[in-house]
Symmetry: C2
Subunit: 137 residues, 2 copies
């Protein structure tokens, strides 16, 4: 049964669509990050939006945030329940601050790295004229 129009996914389909393992999807659910409904027979039924949601979750996870941290603001970011979210404003602000810090940190690392690269490059062209300056990719 191909996902027809704007429909629901079973867990295996969602897994393939997002790259997250089935195991992980169930884990995310237990952590309160996604909430599929259930069919009569107990199968998980995911809204099509879940694809984006899960991708977002994985993205956060890759940045070193924990499911707990993510859970702290994800229902607001993902679902559009602004009304419900008013009380959550300080949380947003806090997150914003944290993200800013992370960005700063990354930028610092980035320029550090770039400096290193530059210094290697300049030393190289210094000693060995131009040999192996090719990008190997």
């Amino acid at each position: 049964m191909q996902p027809k129009e704007g429909w629901t996914l079973k867990i295996g389909e969602l897994s393939k669509a997002t790259g997250a393992s089935i195991r992980s999807l169930r884990y995310y659910e237990k952590q309160g990050l996604i909430a599929p409904v259930r069919t009569e027979s107990g199968y998980r039924e995911y809204h099509k939006f879940a694809v984006e949601q899960v991708k977002t979750i994985r993205l956060y996870l890759n940045l070193g945030l924990s499911t707990e941290q993510i859970a702290g603001f994800l229902h607001c970011v993902l679902m559009n329940e602004e009304a419900f979210c008013r009380e959550v404003l300080p949380v947003y602000r806090q997150k914003l601050k944290e993200i800013d810090e992370q960005i700063q940190t990354l930028v610092r690392i980035r320029s550090n790295l770039e400096e290193r690269i530059q210094s290697i490059l300049s030393e190289r062209t210094d000693n060995e004229s131009t040999e192996g300056t090719n990008d190997e990719h």
Copy 2:
């Protein structure tokens, strides 16, 4: 024995100077991230540079990099063995790419968050004139 001039640290001192636990410092060593020398009696003796090194390590760890990944380029970043580092250039470039992606992602998340905040704020002043517009900090 206070660290006099440009001297060495024992593990406890390094721990206090960096915020990393003694346990973690030993772990970093086992992972090949730092290499203190040993006194006759077997005590670890850290160079004063180790303070910066460890801070850098923790920074990377906080960004979700593993000790293994860090080890992959840290000897180059930390020690100034550029000559030895030439072969490691592609690794640098790869990292740089990853970091750029992470930054991009974060920036995206950031503006998403900011949008949310704005929309909550505007909705609020929309409905309730000016009540509770105070920052709760």
